[in-house]
């Protein structure tokens, strides 16, 4: 199963919804598309919805951390939401949620960023 990526803009927030499996093979495309979306849309804050992401490895962690650093350096925030137990194991091991904010679902994530859903 490959990765499908859906980008959406809600007010000033870029919503990134991932579905399928995120590995090294998919990571390069995702990074390029994501960076292009951030550049072409006038948005800053980002929500990454992982509800339908069934698999992720350290290459996926690399992409998340890479975007987090760029978004934070530009003075914006990134929130990850709806993480499945499978993907959660990897995030816990990496200590990712010590630096990136986590929300139970997209509505909560939007609220955290000050957008009424």
């Amino acid at each position: 199963m490959s990765l499908s990526v859906n980008f959406n803009v809600k007010e000033s927030v870029l919503l990134v919804r991932l579905e399928g499996e995120l590995d090294h093979h998919e990571a390069t495309n995702l990074r390029e598309e994501w960076q292009a979306q951030l550049a072409q849309n006038n948005v800053g804050n980002v929500i990454v919805n992982l509800e339908k992401l069934t698999f992720m490895d350290s290459s996926g962690l690399g992409v998340m951390l890479g975007r987090y650093k760029e978004i934070q350096a530009a003075g914006w925030e990134m929130v990850i939401c709806s993480v499945t137990p499978e993907v959660r194991r990897l995030f816990d091991l990496s200590g990712m949620f010590k630096i990136v904010k986590l929300a139970d679902n997209e509505d909560f994530a939007l609220q955290m960023l000050g957008v009424a859903s």
Partner: protein, 146 residues
């Protein structure tokens, strides 16, 4: 139950998912738990990615060998490449270490392998290749076999 398989594939990134699926279906008769299956798919992905990115530096004309054997509830997976080898194994095992910081790697590959498996053995020689042996005792079948 004893079983063994060996798969050889080109060092292209499309084959990372092939390797995960091959191992996942091969061990399915052992009825692994969801967590065990996730762990094993993740470590296979890490080791195969390492072979492609680091061993062969994305040279698609090379070959990666994946072996898997099961003995009762014991799973052993070997991932081997004949690429450039690991210069410093101790450094490679360090969390967050990466030899390719410019590639947006997280440096978590070996840390994940060591946390998700019972045992990780790394054999590597410069310009000869790397052979990673990963083993794990599945809990689900241990209970049934007792």
């Amino acid at each position: 139950m004893k079983n063994y398989m060996k798969v050889e594939f080109s060092s292209v990134s499309q084959n990372e998912s092939l390797a995960r699926i091959a191992v996942a279906s091969f061990i399915s008769p052992l009825n692994p738990t969801v967590d065990e299956l996730t762990d094993i798919k993740t470590v296979v992905s890490e080791a195969v990615t390492n072979a492609i990115i680091h061993g062969y530096e994305e040279d698609a004309d090379q070959k990666v060998i994946l072996e898997c054997s099961i003995n009762q509830s014991q799973v052993e997976i070997i991932i081997e490449d004949f690429g450039k080898g690991i210069e410093d194994i101790e450094a490679a095992r360090e969390p967050l270490y990466t030899s390719k910081p410019e590639w947006e790697r997280s440096g978590m590959g070996f840390t994940i392998m060591e946390n998700f498996m019972d045992q990780v053995d790394i054999k590597s020689k410069e310009n000869e290749g790397t052979r990673i042996t990963l083993s794990k005792q599945l809990t689900s079948t241990k209970a049934i076999c007792n």
